[in-house]
């Protein structure tokens, strides 16, 4: 069967499954809508958390980024998994014991203040919208490639599907849908990885194959070969880094604390029954995430080796079909700068660099003399090949010449990853609006039914905004997502940690900390990423820290401001201090979660 038909079948069947689950588990009360009724098993919750959290960026972009960055890409691997250790040890059990619906709920109650709650709501909305923008772009890319529709149409199909199960099922529907989505996405990620590893090294386990010798050259380790080839072409060695030590540390830390402060992840720990289940489900979540994360560096390195060996110094006319497929989609470009008909893929040390200036601009209908798409903005260096990072995972099965059904499976997996995260974020946005804004601040006497209607309406509105971002994408998937982590690190993390571990922490300190933290992060991000406030290049970075890593600086500033301000202002009321004490022990969850 051809891959197009198979793709329709795989994607269609998986969507039918998700919608079926949503109908079966639709929410009837606000408790079911916000926290799935609070009775999800730790194993199911772990899987759902993994799917919720592994986004289009993890599935599609991460391996591609590592592939291009080599060792420097490790910040994503360590950062995004290390955060779960903080979540499990420092946040999850206590938030579960506290037992409400949302993160602003905790902040509002712990800091006995509507101002604190509003600040938290605003932070949750900023973080979630920044993050969801990346997801919708992912949905668009996948649909346009695999279903051969316009990106806009793809985004709209995605919106309708998410809308259906997020609005109908709430957290309950999302949770069980995400369990199914996890299974689809992990299977889709592992199958091609196993094939590729086996082809290259004879070892079917990708994470071990990565450290194995090549079948083509039995005395050469795969990574050594890759290091050698990279250096030969003028790139830095794959296993060596080129980033500054301080920036690597800052980015890793920002991603770790950002993970631990992401509202759509934290909220998952409200859905289990007991404190011990919250700890356990954090463990399962990392286990399930880890399976993908230790496979991704293998996919990255094999993909890179395959790419170099396929294209370097080869004739354009002899390129395999996938090359032209991706070229036609504008994700790959070749500019024959020296008119020899061969592809020169060169790094800086060989007078290479970026093959073109900025993103590729293709001429409409003209073709070059070898039949390649013409690019209107070539750069002056010798590198002739532009490869969009996002294609690494998507094109891998084709590069390795795998059967059609694997390609269809990867399409379904990508969509599962993007849709599950989008749904989780939608729920955070809708509950921030209906629960924290309407129920807790504007109209406290609203009925359970009325709140449920409000939650559904808010979800509809959020989908429309997210769809807008999908159609007008703000840049690279992972770059945008990385900034959402910085924002979460700068705002929530200190307020929650101090709320649990520092009894003396009061509302004045927490509010000041959150406001200063998120403003500082927003300022830095706008200045250095989007050219506001005079802009600036990497030479103007403070302490040599990139916008992606700046969340960790803003987090420290938040901690500092919070503690200093709290020293000069009255201590929190007695009942709040008692609440902190009760949150610290796991007994009596039933009463605590009796809403």
């Amino acid at each position: 069967m051809d891959s197009q038909l198979l793709t329709y079948i795989f994607v269609g069947v998986s969507f039918a499954l998700y919608i079926g689950i949503a109908i079966w588990s639709r929410a009837g009360s606000t408790k079911e809508f916000y926290v799935a009724g609070g009775g999800v098993s730790p194993l199911a919750n772990g899987m759902a958390t993994a799917a919720d959290w592994m986004s289009a960026a993890s599935f599609i972009s991460m391996a591609g980024i590592i592939s291009f960055m080599g060792y420097d890409g490790s910040v994503f691997l360590m950062g995004w998994t290390g955060g779960f250790v903080l979540l499990a040890l420092l946040l999850a059990p206590y938030l579960r014991k506290f037992g409400k619906f949302t993160v602003p709920d905790f902040i509002g109650d712990r800091y006995y203040s509507k101002t604190a709650r509003s600040v938290a709501v605003i932070c949750a909305l900023i973080v979630s919208f920044t993050y969801i923008a990346g997801q919708m772009r992912g949905v668009g890319v996948v649909f346009s490639r695999f279903l051969e529709v316009e990106i806009e149409t793809g985004v709209i199909i995605g919106m309708i599907i998410v809308l259906f199960y997020a609005v109908l099922g709430g957290m309950k529907g999302i949770t069980y849908t995400q369990v199914a989505q996890y299974c689809v996405l992990i299977f889709a990620f592992l199958v091609p990885a196993i094939f590729i590893s086996f082809q290259a090294t004879g070892n079917p386990i990708p994470m071990f194959g990565m450290g194995d010798t090549l079948t083509s050259q039995p005395d050469t380790f795969m990574l050594d070969k890759l290091d050698g080839l990279s250096e030969e072409l003028g790139f830095s060695a794959y296993t060596e880094g080129s980033k500054d030590l301080i920036d690597v540390i800052a980015i890793t830390l920002a991603l770790m604390v950002g993970t631990a402060g992401l509202p759509h992840v934290i909220v998952r720990f409200f859905t289990v029954k007991r404190v011990k289940d919250a700890r356990k489900s954090a463990g399962y979540a990392l286990l399930f995430i880890g399976i993908l994360y230790i496979t991704a560096p293998a996919v990255a390195s094999f993909g890179k080796l395959n790419l170099i060996e396929t294209v370097s110094e080869k004739k354009y006319s002899e390129m395999p079909k996938w090359f032209t497929t991706w070229e036609n989609l504008g994700l790959l470009a070749w500019i024959d700068k020296d008119s020899d008909g061969k592809i020169q893929y060169l790094g800086v040390a060989k007078d290479g660099g970026n093959a073109l200036t900025g993103i590729p601009i293709f001429s409409e209908n003209e073709r070059g003399k070898n039949g390649e798409r013409l690019v209107e903005n070539p750069s002056s260096n010798k590198n002739e090949l532009y490869v969009d990072r996002d294609i690494m995972v998507l094109a891998n099965p084709e590069i390795a010449d795998l059967p059609n059904w694997v390609i269809a499976l990867v399409a379904a997996g990508c969509l599962a990853a993007a849709l599950s995260t989008a749904a989780g974020l939608l729920l955070v946005i809708s509950s921030s609006v209906s629960h924290d804004l309407i129920k807790k601040m504007i109209k406290p006497d609203i009925s359970d039914k009325g709140e449920l209607v409000a939650a559904r309406l808010a979800a509809v509105a959020a989908v429309v905004v997210a769809g807008y971002f999908g159609i007008n994408p703000p840049g690279f998937v992972a770059a945008v997502v990385a900034l959402a982590f910085g924002l979460a690190a700068a705002s929530f993390f200190p307020a929650i940690i101090l709320g649990i571990f520092y009894k003396r922490m009061n509302k004045e300190g927490a509010i000041a900390g959150m406001v200063v933290g998120i403003c500082l992060m927003l300022f830095y991000m706008l200045k250095f990423k989007f050219d506001f406030f005079g802009g600036g290049t990497s030479e103007d970075w403070w302490f040599g820290i990139s916008p992606e890593g700046f969340g960790s600086v803003a987090m420290f500033v938040n901690f500092f401001v919070s503690i200093v301000i709290s020293k000069f202002t009255p201590e929190p009321p007695l009942e709040v201090q008692e609440m902190v004490e009760s949150v610290r022990i796991p007994a009596g969850v039933e009463e605590a979660s009796d809403h």
Partner: protein, 90 residues
């Protein structure tokens, strides 16, 4: 404060102190395998090899993740035991 609540509170603080003690053991390991082995001492560790992996590079891309998973499950076990010891597991 009457005697019973006083005892209850002492009990709770003792539990909390032991919990903090576990964190003081586990979090440095978390720090060491990632920021230590994967970043700061990466270049030095890279002179050693496990199979085709330089050790520092391996910690950065795989090893730290294995350790993170183990850390959480160790914490889960320790805390479940602690809950039992203090009678908070009911």
């Amino acid at each position: 404060m009457d005697k019973q609540t006083d005892n209850k509170q002492k009990h709770a603080s003792a539990y909390w102190r032991e919990n903090l003690k576990y964190l003081a053991i586990l979090l440095p390991i978390w720090f060491f395998v990632s920021y230590g082995a994967g970043i700061i001492f990466k270049d030095w560790l890279d002179q050693f090899q496990i199979g085709g992996f330089n050790v520092g590079f391996w910690f950065a891309q795989q090893g730290s993740i294995y350790v993170f998973i183990i850390l959480i499950f160790v914490y889960v076990r320790l805390m479940n035991k602690l809950d039992k010891k203090y009678g908070y597991d009911k």
